[in-house]
């Protein structure tokens, strides 16, 4: 029996989440819902269809999704469809598929399977650890040459601890470096389970103020801070800590000062590298595919966001951390 889980992407040749050339496995489902999340398709644990309306070649030319959807003719037949009151979750506008009504969709993914043009995209698929390993294993030569390996990310990989642990166990056996990128907003026991299998941890410390944290991510940071402290307390831990610097959310000096205090105090400075990731307006087309609003837009206006000023600000933060003796870089690198 091999562990199974929901994966929404396997990306080969990633070079940003951990050292060297890596294969990154993105697992679906996340306990946090950060306002700036660039992978909105990762939030929900279940497989779900998304719609890229520009790719639809038109109902008249194709109609494959309608033919495949088990709900289309449910009970009603063609009559209701003509009256515009079909029970189908597929929503068309001017001959093109534009959205899926998730309240009517049962998540069977038949439409995504049938669509010839990728207008309906399956966000996520069930995979076993063995299946994932088959893909990961292929690139071993690249890991060995570059000092790379596997990174399990998400979503939150520790929501699927069994799968992550199984992957890491197999990687260990095959001499593949393991890296876990987690938000740490999970019970410590799960982290503990992964501890002996994980060569490198990548974790976020989004902001120090618990209330703000709750407001912007949907959960407080108490458990995260506690887990970080425990993780750093383990002398064997290799940890890259990241702060996603978000305009109008955590881009203030007070937050950075408190963070530095926490790293040097509670975490005893046991951080290999601190990485400041400047906010990127990413994932909007994915929000659109899921029919979700992108809430950062207003926030940016409020914060009078300008990329050049912002970038300078982030660099200044990095200088500050370095001045406090914390090895810090802007971006996902570890070397200057």
């Amino acid at each position: 029996m091999t562990a199974e889980g929901t994966v929404f992407n396997i990306q080969h040749f990633t070079i940003h989440d951990g050292p060297g050339i890596r294969t990154e496995v993105f697992l679906k489902g996340c306990p946090l819902h950060c306002l700036w999340c660039s992978n909105p398709e990762s939030l929900k644990a279940e497989v779900q269809p998304g719609v890229y309306r520009k790719k639809c070649i038109g109902r008249k030319n194709c109609g494959a999704c309608e033919e495949a959807c088990p709900r289309t003719d449910a009970g009603a037949g063609g009559g209701l469809a003509k009256a515009g009151r079909t029970a189908s979750p597929l929503r068309f506008y001017r001959n093109r598929l534009v959205a899926i009504d998730y309240t009517l969709c049962n998540g069977c993914m038949a439409c995504a399977e049938a669509c010839p043009s990728e207008a309906v995209k399956a966000w996520g698929r069930r995979m076993t650890a063995d299946q994932i390993m088959q893909e990961v294993r292929r690139d071993k030569g690249y890991y060995d040459r570059s000092g790379g390996g596997i990174t399990v990310s998400g979503g939150e990989p520790l929501l699927q601890t069994e799968l992550t642990a199984e992957l890491f166990r197999q990687c260990r056996e095959e001499g593949i470096h393991t890296c876990c990128e987690t938000c740490l907003c999970i019970p410590w026991e799960r982290v503990e389970e992964l501890l002996p299998l994980t060569d490198l941890w990548i974790a976020d410390l989004k902001m120090m103020d618990p209330e703000k944290h709750r407001a912007f991510t949907g959960a407080g940071n108490e458990r995260i801070l506690e887990n970080l402290q425990k993780l750093a307390g383990n002398p064997e831990t290799e940890l890259i800590l990241r702060i996603p610097v978000i305009p109008g959310v955590n881009d203030n000096m007070e937050n950075m000062r408190q963070t530095a205090d926490f790293i040097l105090g509670e975490m005893q400075g046991n951080v290999r590298t601190l990485q400041l990731l400047s906010y990127m307006r990413l994932g909007m087309e994915k929000y659109e595919s899921l029919g979700l609003p992108y809430q950062m837009t207003d926030r940016l206006k409020e914060a009078h966001f300008r990329r050049d000023y912002f970038q300078r600000k982030v660099r200044n933060f990095a200088d500050y951390f370095n001045s406090r003796g914390i090895h810090t870089l802007v971006g996902t690198r570890e070397k200057q």
Binding site: H12, N61, R145, H177, L282, G283, M284
Partner: protein, 854 residues
Amino acid sequence: MNTGTNTAKDLNHEMYVEAHTAACGCEPIDQTYSLGYVKGHEDWSPFPRVNRLRQTFLDRPFNIDIERFRNVTESYREHEGEPAVLRCAYAFESILKNATLYIYDDDLILGEIAAPAKASPQYPEFSVNWMLHEALYEPFEEREHDQFYFASEEDRQEFIELCGYWKGRAVDDYVNARLDDEMTKGSQTGRKIFQTNLYHYGGVGHLVMNYEKILRIGYDGMIAEAKAGLDRITKKDPDYVEKRDFYRAVIICHEAAKMYIERYARLAGEKAFEAKDPARKQELLQMAANCHQLAGGPAESFWQALQLFNFATTMTQIESNGHSISYGRMDQWLYPYYEADIRKGVISKEYAQELLEVTFVKMNNPTKIRDGGTARVRQGRGFGGECLTIGGVDRNGRDATNDLTMMMLDASVHTRMMCPWLLVRMHEDTPYELKVKTVECIRAGYGHPKIFNDAPTIKAQMRKGQTLEEARDYAVVGCVEPNLPYREYGWHDASYINTVKFMEMVLNGGRCLDCGPHCPRWDKCGALGDHLGPDTGSLETYENMDQVLESVDRQFDYWCDQMCATMNIVDRAHRERKPLPYLSAFFEGCLEDGVDVTAGGTRYNGIGPQASGLATCADSLAAIKQLVFDEKKYTGAELLQALKDNWKGHEKLYALINSPKVHHYGNDDDYADEFFRFMFECYCRHLTGRKTIRGGEFTPGVYSVSANVGMGLNTNASLDGRKAGEAISDNMGPVHTDAGSHDIQGPIGIAHSIAKVDHSLATNGTLLNLKFPQEAVKGIEGRDNLISYIDEYLAGGPMHVQFNIMSSATMKAAQKHPEDYKDMLVRVAGYSAYFVELGKALQKDLIQRTDLEF
């Protein structure tokens, strides 16, 4: 073995022991030059002279110079009726005697191709038909690209008059008189299934001369060898007369070369006399002294070696307009001169570097005007193909890196010009320092150097019959053609083959998909119920995949017959009409046996045509297998109809075939990769073993350079989801249609796919272009990742790779043509997307950020 605290990097060092070298140029080994293209940067070189020469070159126009045309025509008129080889020699002599000589400001190396820098001479010996036609009806200056300009209206008139003499006397006239309809229907004059333009209308080139020898013995040595040959032959030899004429021709040519260099010596002396600036006067005096020495004598210094190299090379370009006159393993043959001068303290390393860079700029001067048809598929006005090979193993299999290897990489990134086409040979023990420098040049994003893999290439050379020691000494000529310097006259780049056109015949019973009365060939083909190719079945009749593949095999056989028969005529035409006595002296075997290189005088005598569109064919076959025979979703007849309709009315099928739901080559997917392998092997099998008239064999290559675009224009829709007129797949690369790229697994996926074929079968070379975003090679980590990528890519066995490193400008271009950039990775922490999948606004954000971070 993993203890938890050990990182994979530590393990890595145990697994792969890096080789090292003490070789070093003037710049530090890990000098970072730039990341990607930098616009408007004019002083990359630390030497102001080099920057000035470079700028002067760039500012100069492309002209037509008719001096050679005039001289060669006059000489041929004078020597009417004499043996061809002697007429060639007299013409060569006449050109060198009468050519106007040029010495440009700042220059330290002398010698052009008997025309001003960047002006193209004419070579009527090969063909005047196209020259006359274009001068009259399709003016060179009105071309869409590759324009050339006459200096005056008188020149144009004289040009047209001179053409008159050559009608019926050129190489192409010889060929045209011998082609039959079966051959022409498939060639550039027919439906363009194969195109033999290059050597049908121009010289052959694609070779490496024996630079070691000329530097060692000089032109006097060459003449002495020819004279000894002349003394050796007797009238008992049935070929006595041919050999006698050949030796006489060689002597005429090399005496003329001495006289030509002596003319330069006199001119440099006169210029020195006039020079006001004492430093320049000194340089000119030294150049005059160099020329005096080299007008007969061997090279005695590093500077003289470079000078003699340039004279020897440009005179080959004066004799014939064959391009890709490549420089061989220049870091190897030049090294003794460098080493001696440094040891004796004659020059400093810095001055050697400056001389090298001056030479690099100089290499750009020769220019060649091509016929309009060729120019359309092969753009660029330079002479072309001046590949310079460095690195690799020596004849004993040991790493050959030396100071000059590093200095030539520095010279390349300091000049950043079209020439030379720098190439680094890599092998298992390539020193780390050389990899770092190579990758620093690559990520500077100016397109050089390309990388060649020793293991499969050495194997390929041995397939051509070379010994291991010879094979290890390979250099690359032109784009990617492996060649044994001065022992292989390989006719590389001999013909472009459009395999997608073969596939049309396979799918449609030997007819073009658009067969009908509009076709110029209709009257002698379709109208008579005939076919362009043999009828080997059609999509309507195939019952299983084996029948389809069998049909592919038979089409290949038929069209290779036509093409090889044509090439053999072209080969004979060059032997009969345009022997190359000057060049022959630089080839092993010619002076020994008294046989011209065009008549098979040297050791290895192949002809190398190259296939384009293999991936288009592979994806087509994968689609047929999957949709018709495995899933049975469509019938063969339906697919055929979709092609005939150019996909109109078949939108669903079109979308499906272009989607990842259908197997595509380039994604490490065996289903489609197997068909690529089938196509690759089928093509190689049908060419390998066929004999050339010079006693060699045909050698298959798989590359298209940019010809895939031009070929696509003449090709109907194909089953990879390509519409009529779109480019066919390039080189070894995967398919990119207007609906998007078919490889979506990134650079490792394509590396796995391309490693599934035995590259050594393609003895005329394979080519792969890869695009990398700048983001991916940024910083020390980015550099090291690219090194690791290249190492592992080469370990898989492909022959060649070159990179495009992209900038924000590239990203902007990607916004305009997203279909061409589908595989461009943009990776920010935790984010998983390709650039073109992103919305416009965030693309812009990414571009802004990229600009700020560099």
